[in-house]
């Protein structure tokens, strides 16, 4: 009964999104307040219905209702609670449900926060959100219905793909989807502005928090996914330039560009047309990512949970929204007025440069990801585009961008003084170069990229510190003034500095991978293996069984200078009902580095074949991403964002602040 209720709510949501899509738009065109007012109500009702429907599906999982086909295929009565909940989105149907749930959640949130937004803009925005939700709801009901029953319910389910039975899975997709789908708000705002025919600093102020939220979640989602692949796939790598990873990286790169261009628009009322285009492109790349993952069109390590038959439908959605969005842009962009002027050497100019490099690196990732597919379609030739291509195209672009970041951060708006900025950054630059030389001197003979990369990371961190420092340091030292200024500095300034420093931290972690040590060996009990600064020795191999699996593994003891530092366990795990074993890597963190063990096999004579790695500073890669997200969150808590633009306009007596310049 509850299942049918959920099913019914889903279909009912198609009706309400139809209302949400059509009537407010009609109202926006005819300037009819009554029709426009339907936007918010229908957004709330839609959210309630999809939530109900999603709740019903979750209930089916929690109660192990094996009369529902989706539950039979993806759950098992003995699964722990967390995997029953996360099992909902471990498969195609459920993850599309989560996608739509987040989409309508954002729409409801926009409606909720919409007081003081121009009614016509709000109606247009919610109408576009409704259209996207409508398309995906129809997709779910027609091709991916999770509520279908089986005629003859089995006594138990087939279980979750063991690779997916992991706490990482419980959080990775929701984070990623919050990011992907969050950019739909920017998209809807862009289309809304094109319908509305007006775009100004207020628009940017409304759109910026949503972009920031999406960006924060996408950053966390990508970092989480990277760490998950690192420990779950057992190859010790953290980024594989896999098409599915690229699918999430592209909206991140474009979203980062968008984040920066909305700053220019909000502060200086410039780059309007470009910002609109970026909003459209960012969500287009999110849709493309959804398409790539969900259609299984590209062979990749992530292509579990995919079905090519549905590809055409999503492709249709893709064409309608990307094509429609770009068409709207082509037709209406010329009607938008260009804003403030600026000299090439200025904060604005630097942000344009930032956008240039981010866009070019997005092109590199996009072309590299899709090229084999396109080439095969048109000429039949099969080629592969792997990590070496991206390392030669996207990575150099990233590096140039990173070198430029501290300059951009320190330049003044409108007209900057490059010489002054260089003087300001001299200390940061000198310290970074000094660090490179010292590290290089201590590691002569080692890889040269490690010290250089660390220098680059330091340059970004010190550059951010310089920016804050010059803004709070008075001419004459006075601790009171410093504290007061630090307190008075907008949180968005702290956020920007923290995010850039976080990027620097990640860069250091990435650079240090060049110092990584890998040891492949067949070892017997007690034999000592030197892995980096640590000594690892096999203690014993073991066999055991846990909840829903049995495994065969090896236990290693770690020592350094004859001091015992704990143990590492790595195993091959065979899950009930699955043929392929999974490799459970053993990971032990020392300081910022990690010892990583990955079992090959246990030989009949008791010896163990194993890959051992020492990965110095590796945790900084993900730690830096967390700092970046934290910077984003700090920026989100800025007063300017918390107080809605409209409130501010009314507070500062109307025209002077809010009106387009």
């Amino acid at each position: 009964m509850i299942i049918e209720l959920g099913h019914y709510a889903l279909i009912l949501a198609i009706m309400t999104t139809f209302v949400q899509c059509v009537f407010p738009l009609w109202g926006a065109v005819r300037q009819d307040p009554w029709l426009q007012s339907m936007a918010r109500i229908s957004a709330f009702v839609t959210f309630a219905l999809v939530l109900l429907s999603y709740g019903a599906l979750t209930y089916a999982y929690l109660s192990s209702d094996f009369s529902v086909a989706n539950v039979v295929l993806n759950s098992h009565s003995t699964k722990p609670l967390i995997y029953k909940i996360s099992g909902v989105w471990s498969n195609h149907e459920g993850s599309m449900m989560l996608w739509v749930l987040i989409l309508v959640f954002f729409a409801a949130l926009v409606a909720f926060r919409g007081d003081g937004m121009p009614e016509r803009l709000l109606a247009s925005v919610l109408s576009v959100q409704g259209a996207i939700a409508l398309a995906f709801l129809i997709f779910i009901v027609l091709t991916s219905n999770p509520f279908l029953r089986v005629g003859d319910p089995p006594s138990d389910g087939q279980g979750l793909n063991p690779i997916l039975a992991d706490p990482g899975l419980a959080i990775h997709p929701p984070l990623l989807y919050l990011g992907y789908v969050g950019f739909s708000v920017a998209f809807s705002f862009a289309i809304g502005a094109l319908i509305h025919g007006r775009i100004d600093a207020i628009w940017a102020r409304f759109v910026r928090p949503w972009t920031l939220i999406a960006w924060i979640f996408l950053t966390l989602g990508i970092a989480m996914g990277s760490y998950w692949a690192y420990y779950e796939l057992g190859w010790g790598g953290w980024w594989f330039w896999d098409p599915v990873e690229n699918a999430s990286l592209m909206p991140w790169l474009m979203g980062t560009a968008l984040l920066h261009s909305t700053i220019v628009m909000e502060k200086r009322d410039a780059l309007k047309v470009w910002t609109i285009l970026l909003s459209i492109l960012t969500f287009s790349l999110s849709l493309l990512g959804t398409f790539l993952v969900r259609s299984g069109v590209i062979t990749s390590v992530h292509s579990f949970a995919s079905d090519p038959g549905r590809g055409l439908f999503i492709l249709g959605i893709l064409v309608v929204f990307i094509g429609g969005g770009l068409l709207m842009f082509a037709l209406r962009a010329s009607s938008l007025r260009q804003g403030g002027l600026f000299a090439p050497v200025s904060r604005e100019g630097a942000l344009v440069l930032n956008n240039l490099f981010l866009a070019a690196s997005t092109v590199a990732v996009l072309v590299g990801t899709l090229y084999p597919l396109v080439l095969e379609t048109f000429s039949g030739a099969k080629i592969s585009v792997g990590a070496p291509y991206f390392n030669l195209t996207a990575v150099p672009l990233f590096i140039i961008l990173l070198v430029l970041v501290p300059f951009g951060q320190s330049l003044a708006w409108k007209r900057g003084d490059l010489l002054g900025v260089m003087q300001k950054l001299l200390f940061a630059f000198g310290m970074s170069v000094l660090a490179v030389m010292i590290i290089f001197a201590f590691t002569i003979g080692g890889p040269i990229m490690a010290p250089v990369g660390i220098g680059l990371g330091l340059w970004m961190i010190l550059g951010s510190a310089t920016d804050i420092f010059t803004r709070i340091w008075p001419l004459r030292f006075d601790i009171g003034v410093i504290v007061a200024r630090a307190w008075g500095l907008p949180r968005s300034a702290w956020g920007a500095a923290l995010a850039h420093a976080g990027l620097g931290i990640s860069v250091i972690g990435i650079a240090a991978t060049a110092w990584g040590v890998e040891h492949i060996s067949i070892t017997k009990a007690g034999e000592k293996i030197l892995v980096g600064p640590y000594t690892v020795a096999l203690e014993a191999s073991f066999k055991r069984s846990g909840q829903g699996y049995r495994e065969e593994g090896a236990r290693f003891l770690i020592t350094r200078d004859n001091q015992s530092l704990g143990a590492l366990e790595t195993s091959k795990r065979v899950h009930a009902g699955r043929e392929m074993p999974t490799t459970e890597a053993g990971i032990e963190t020392f300081g910022l580095g990690q010892l990583y063990a990955s079992l090959n096999e246990i030989l009949p004579d008791g010896r163990v074949s194993v890959h051992l790695y020492w990965k110095p500073l590796v945790t900084l890669i993900w730690g830096g991403s967390l700092v970046m997200a934290l910077g984003g969150a700090l920026s989100l808590s800025d007063r300017r964002v918390r107080i809605t633009a409209a409130e501010r306009v009314s507070r500062t007596t109307g025209k002077s602040r809010g009106a387009p310049a």
């Binding site: 990749s300 002027l341 240039l356 080629i383 592969s384 585009v385 792997g386």
Partner: protein, 157 residues
């Protein structure tokens, strides 16, 4: 062709007992081994989804790793080995596509994207430069705006 792939596929699925680089594969000569690793990292495991033969557990990947090492021991250059593999398995095996007529767009796209967008930015800057150099005096509105910006700035300092 198709049948061969199916056969291979069957081999992989039902005989998944081999693992990424095994100790017995490693060459005595460390310099050769380094070369073997760097070549393998740029070769695709043909039956896997997106893995190099260096990372892959598949038996075919092991065969290819051994093949690369045998050829290295026989004194062949990296390029000769790559050429041999391409002749046998096609361009598909190279994770780093060669620069050829059908990959010009692939290799050129990022560069052109930067060049073209850079050109547009430059042109826009020129146009704006011309605008801002014109000697039109500030309107009252603009003067008020200027005062406000200056006031804001001194506040921020």
């Amino acid at each position: 062709m198709m049948r061969r792939f199916l056969l291979l596929f069957a081999l992989i699925v039902f005989n998944a007992t081999a693992y990424a680089v095994e100790p017995d594969e490693i060459l005595k000569d460390p310099a050769l081994e380094v070369r073997a690793r760097s070549i393998s990292a740029e070769l695709r495991c043909l039956v896997c989804q997106n893995q190099s033969i260096d990372d892959s557990d598949a038996p075919l990947a092991r065969d290819l790793r051994l093949l690369v090492r045998d050829r290295l021991k026989a004194g062949e250059s990296d390029n000769q080995i790559r050429q041999y593999l391409v002749e046998r398995y096609g361009e598909f095996i190279l994770l780093k596509p060669r620069f050829a007529t059908d990959t010009i767009i692939l290799w050129g796209a990022p560069f052109f994207a930067l060049l073209i967008s850079g050109f547009f930015v430059w042109r826009a800057a020129q146009r704006r430069g011309a605008l801002s150099r014109s000697d039109v005096p500030l309107t009252d509105d603009e003067k008020a705006q200027l005062d406000r910006i200056l006031a804001n700035r001194s506040q921020n300092r």
